[in-house]
Amino acid sequence: MRKTVFVVLLGAGLLAAAGVLSDAGQEQSTPLGLPPVPIPENNPQTPEKIALGEKLYMETRFSTTGEVGCFTCHDPEKAFTDSPLKTSEGINKLTGTRNSPTVINSAYMTKQFWDGRSPDLEDQALHPFINPVEHGLKNHDPILKIVRKDPEYKKAFQEVFGKTGKEITMREVTLAIASFERTIVSGDSPFDRYYFGGEEDALTEQQKRGFDLYLNEGRCVSCHVIEQTQALFTDNRFHNIGVGINNIQNDVPKLAGEFLEADRTLSEVDVEVLTDPKTSELGRFAISHGFDDLGAFKTPTLRNVAVTAPYMHDGSIETLEDVMLHYMNGGVTEAGDPVNDFLSGGIRPLDIEVEQIEDLVAFMEALTSPEFEPAADAADGEK
């Protein structure tokens, strides 16, 4: 059932809209508000590769329990997240430390994961398989065993890459998954129709007031970027906005010191940040070791944000209204709580009134793409 919905959804919206099914005319068919999807030279899109990537994405055998796939935490029916879970659940309901980021438009991100520890979608796809709280595999061998033996996979890998048996490596597996993920793009929201499409009445008056706040007193646009011809709603940078790090303030010297002393591999970092809640809060510092990155996480897109609650890298804020309060307070969720020592210089108390929060939230609700409207309605129904 899940899969049927998925295919219909993609068939009707994403694949066709992104224009990836035909070689020609991709630019014209890119959704309103988005630039063409950047396709790496060494991983060109083909319909067959995308289909193989989708099959791998939906595969549950690549986990110790046979129940977890990429889709478990990045569910197409939930705008490619696992909303309303606070942090993601892997094998045996084990939970990680971070809120599932959406796959939607991740093709445009210049770094992957909340802390940017992965340079691209191909590399990103390697790590969850062997993380103890995600797919739980000890190494990638079980995956290779399946794709080299299973008749359907054998056929597909032969067709897409011209490879069989031991020629098939995780490189081919991740190339296909990344190709599929590059089709998961979405724009065409009411905001796009208003701002880029010139449809004056695509936004309500309240949403227009919210947009004005977004650009001005709200200071949202400084990180959630809107440009002249496109809007990715991210600056692809990392900021300490006073979430999570506040919980470990007294442990920062010890935790940071450990990271500076030990030269960890990326895989070790991957396991540590997802299994140790305190280490997780170091954010990008765990990767870069730069003071600017202490407690800093990637600016997420705001597209479809109305259907992906809860919010922030740790899922610690339940509603968009409370997110707005966090920013109004200058980077603290509860007014009066201490401000983090390493808070980004961009975060400071805002000059907006509590009444204006509803305008801002209304604007964010205008960022939902048509293909996720059903999810938006469901979220409304639950309120």
Binding site: P253, A256, G257, S288, H289, D292, S344, G345
Partner: protein, 341 residues
């Protein structure tokens, strides 16, 4: 973006003949803690000092001590000095403090001295002789006789391009003390002087200036290796005059000269005078920072930790005999100024 948060180990090699003599210290300066009213202080300046202190506490290897380079307060009031001292107290290291004009001209350093002790002094550490000067004094007539109130005196000295201002000086008393202090120091002992204003003459209108700079330089002349580190100018500067290397340190509060992008209503900032060629108005901490210093072969290697920016190192180049930016000295290597956003 890529900040170097640990001291590069290679930087501390090739130091004194006895490797045990290698050491580092950190330098924070010009926080300008500003009281608004009640328990309210200007948030931006608070955040700059808080962040610098917290980052300094994370340094590895640990610095031997921390210098604070003056202008802890904006208008020298007790609430400002107390609030600033409280933040400095969070440093996990022995801290030495330099007097700035913003700390001084309200009560002529009385409360500051209660908090931090003598206004000029010297100490020895691992073979280096360190001297702290109060370089922001001026003519007695200006200080004692000219102004009806202490508050007005403070404001007049805080003004830029102010015809009512007066040039900074170390003064005769301290120069005599300095000569005596150095009398017992061997000529080959590295000497490092900390002052708030530059002990060199750069721009009088903003007191990037010490009126008796030449006399002080004269007292320092007999020594092989002398370094002067000063605050006040809120920007990276370096220079060599004779045997003396000069290094300025960044402010944690705001950069000089002012960027035009700081122009905004209700900012609690002094009026903008000269634009700076870069500063990201989104990041309040942009174009500010703090520094840690490698003492090697008796020279200061200044490592600038610049918030949300590319860190820089200014180190003594034995070939040219002067401090130089280790990466951007050559004109072709410089980052072009950003003139729009």
């Amino acid at each position: 973006m890529a900040a170097v948060s640990t001291l590069p180990v290679s930087m501390v090699e090739l130091a004194f003949a006895d490797p045990a003599q290698n050491f580092t210290f950190a330098y924070i300066s010009d926080s300008h803690i500003q009281h608004i009213n009640g328990n309210r202080f200007v948030n931006n300046w608070d955040r700059g000092l808080i962040r610098s202190v917290a980052e300094t506490n994370l340094l590895q290897p640990k610095p031997d001590f921390v210098m604070f380079g003056g202008d802890l307060a904006q208008l020298g009031t007790k609430p400002e000095l107390d609030h600033g001292a409280e933040m400095l107290a969070k440093l996990n290291y022995k801290t030495h403090v330099v007097m700035g004009e913003h700390d001084y001209y309200l009560d002529l350093g009385e409360y500051w001295s209660e908090l931090f002790g003598p206004q000029w002094y010297s100490f020895d550490h691992k073979g280096v002789h360190f001297v702290v000067l109060n370089s922001i004094l001026t003519f007695d007539e200006w200080t004692f006789d000219r102004w009806p109130t202490a508050e007005q005196r403070m404001l007049e000295m805080a003004g830029l391009d102010n015809p009512n201002g007066s040039p900074f000086m170390v003064g005769e008393t301290q120069r005599a003390w300095l000569a005596k202090d150095l009398a017992g120091v061997a000529q080959n002992t590295p000497v490092v002087v900390f002052s708030h204003s530059p002990i060199q003459k750069i721009y009088k209108g903003w007191n990037f200036w010490t009126d008796d700079a030449e006399e002080v330089q004269g007292i320092l002349k007999p020594f092989d290796d002398v370094t002067v580190v000063y605050g006040h100018v809120h920007q990276i500067q370096y220079n060599q005059i004779g045997n003396i290397s000069f290094h300025a340190v960044m402010a944690t509060a705001w950069p000089w000269p002012y960027p035009r992008s700081y122009a905004q209503a209700e900012s609690h900032m002094p009026k903008i005078t000269v634009p700076m060629n870069r500063s990201d108005p989104f990041f309040e901490r942009d174009a500010t920072g703090w520094q840690f210093i490698n003492m090697k072969t008796g020279r200061v290697d200044m490592e600038y930790n610049l918030n949300n920016n590319t860190n820089r190192t200014v180190a003594y180049n034995p070939e040219t005999g002067r401090p130089e930016d280790t990466k951007y000295q050559a004109e072709d290597d410089r980052i072009a100024p950003q003139i729009h956003y």
